[in-house]
């Protein structure tokens, strides 16, 4: 058993909140650059150039890529041989509080969905905990903006709907979203499990690097097919028309019930942020 002080968790969360909001991951930047080469519509190309210029300015000035610095989604993969001393949830929230304060990030969380009073420190974090083998803790912070979150949908498909039904629903979600989620978007798809697990898988799919396809060949083909179809819609960057509507489609799956085919689609914008550290 390895003991980890909760303060180490606070420090990691703080650092990751700041880093994730200021520097886009390499895979996202490279995907934007590739799409810029592939885009053949001049107006759309101009928008993608501005998007590239934007993340370069953010890095140079050390300011957030986007003003919606999101709600802090914190993923903890806790090794079952690790023991965290102290209050884990408080330690994570303290990291968010310090990170959003010192990093001059926007505080975008309200305490109650209907009363809507801002907590003024961006807490609480949305915490996702997974138990894994080993004695380490992997911390990932993924600030999630709500322009794209609001465009996400879930549907309990029928087993007979099959792959065609999944494609139809995913494309419908992207089409319904139109210009709202700041395209080009990243599409996270969660298939299987239960109603709630499908939504969780869709969120988790957004954590996968954009250049890493599914490890299952059948889903790899489905990801590619969906990306191609989405980029035939013509919505384009910012919805002004063009090829580049999506940068990637990532699918995650789980076993499910004989009667169901849960399908969740979590949309992210081109500011697909996440940063990780291992403690």
């Amino acid at each position: 058993m390895r003991t980890i002080q909760s303060e180490a968790l606070t420090e990691a969360v703080k650092r990751l909140c700041i880093r994730a909001n200021i520097e886009l991951p390499e895979d996202v930047k490279s995907c934007i650059r590739v799409s810029l080469k592939q885009e053949d519509w001049p107006f759309a190309k101009g928008i993608l150039e501005k998007i590239e210029e934007n993340y370069l300015i953010a890095e140079k000035k050390q300011i957030p890529v986007c003003q919606d610095t999101g709600i802090a989604c914190v993923f903890l993969e806790i090794g079952q041989e690790a023991h965290i001393e102290g209050d884990l949830k408080s330690a994570v929230d303290e990291g968010v509080r310090q990170g959003y304060g010192e990093g001059r990030l926007r505080k975008s969380v309200v305490l109650d969905p209907l009363q809507r009073v801002n907590t003024k420190d961006n807490t609480p974090a949305m915490l996702y905990i997974d138990i894994v083998p080993g004695d380490k803790v992997t911390v990932t912070v993924a600030p999630k903006g709500f322009g794209s979150e609001n465009m996400s949908q879930i549907k309990m498909l029928k087993p007979s709907d099959g792959a065609d039904g999944v494609c139809e629903f995913v494309i419908k979600v992207v089409e319904d979203a139109g210009a709202n989620p700041c395209p080009p978007v990243v599409v996270g798809v969660g298939l299987g499990g239960t109603f709630d697990k499908a939504a969780y898988l869709a969120k988790k799919a957004l954590m996968r690097p954009l250049d890493a396809r599914s490890s299952i060949s059948y889903y790899r083909e489905l990801e590619e097919e969906l990306l191609q179809k989405i980029n035939r819609l013509g919505i384009g960057p910012q919805g002004f028309g063009g090829r580049t509507t999506a940068l990637a489609v990532n699918i995650e799956t789980l076993p499910t019930h004989i009667a169901g085919l849960p399908c969740a689609v979590n949309i992210n914008c081109h500011v697909t942020r996440h940063a990780s550290e291992v403690i």
């Binding site: 519509w41 107006f43 759309a44 928008i47 501005k50 998007i51 210029e53 934007n54 993340y55 300015i57 953010a58 000035k61 050390q62 300011i63 957030p64 890529v65 986007c66 003003q67 919606d68 610095t69 001059r104 990030l105 926007r106 505080k107 975008s108 809507r116 801002n118 003024k120 903006g145 322009g147 609001n150 139109g178 210009a179 709202n180 989620p181 700041c182 013509g234 919505i235 384009g236 910012q238 919805g239 002004f240 028309g241 063009g242 090829r243 914008c269 081109h270 500011v271």
Partner: protein, 186 residues
């Protein structure tokens, strides 16, 4: 077409702007998003005055990040405009000339825009660092308790935007996509 426009924007100047045109805005704009719009609506309903000149003005739907020492503002890109649609027709009927945001608008908003010769501009969503660079002065003028949702007066210089919906109701989200598909499939 490219236009360099200054605020306050006159009705005649607004009418020259067509969906798809690129604009660079210089002058004063006021920030307001969800919570500020709710308060504005309550004030207007009670017969009071808004904390900034709505008539002839431009509202920018944004909630910026706090400025670092020595900087004017942090990141300041647009938020999704449709959430403001519930309150927008009343503001347009008070003479609001322009709005900067992103995403589609409701039929009611577009009708009120046509009625009042107003323009809806789109700024690049997710490009807050770039757009914040066009802000040369920023101050909170109302609703400070709302934090990021407070109303700021921003002085902007050559703020880049695109005319998404013009005074006649023509919408780039429809025409831009259509044109692209037509040319692609030729």
């Amino acid at each position: 077409m490219v236009h360099h426009i200054t605020t306050p924007l006159s009705e005649n100047a607004a009418k020259l702007l067509k969906a798809g045109d690129t604009v660079y805005i210089t002058g004063t704009v006021y920030t307001a998003r969800d919570a500020a719009h709710k308060r504005l609506a309550e004030i207007i309903e009670a017969g009071g005055e808004a904390p900034f000149p709505v008539c002839g003005g431009i509202i920018y739907y944004t909630g910026p990040t706090p400025a670092k020492p020595g900087q004017v503002i942090g990141s300041a890109g647009p938020t999704t405009s449709s959430r403001m649609d519930k309150y927008t027709p009343d503001l347009l009927d008070l003479g609001l000339r322009g709005m900067i945001g992103k995403g589609a608008r409701s039929v009611e908003t577009v009708e009120a825009m046509k009625r009042n010769s107003s323009v809806y501009f789109g700024a690049i969503g997710g490009a807050g660092a770039l757009l914040g660079s066009a802000v040369i002065k920023a101050e909170v003028i109302a609703y400070e308790d709302l934090g990021a949702e407070a109303i700021h007066r921003l002085e902007v210089k050559d703020f880049p935007a695109v005319v998404v919906i013009d005074c006649e109701g023509d919408c780039l989200y429809e025409t831009g996509r259509q044109r692209y598909i037509e040319v692609r499939d030729e």
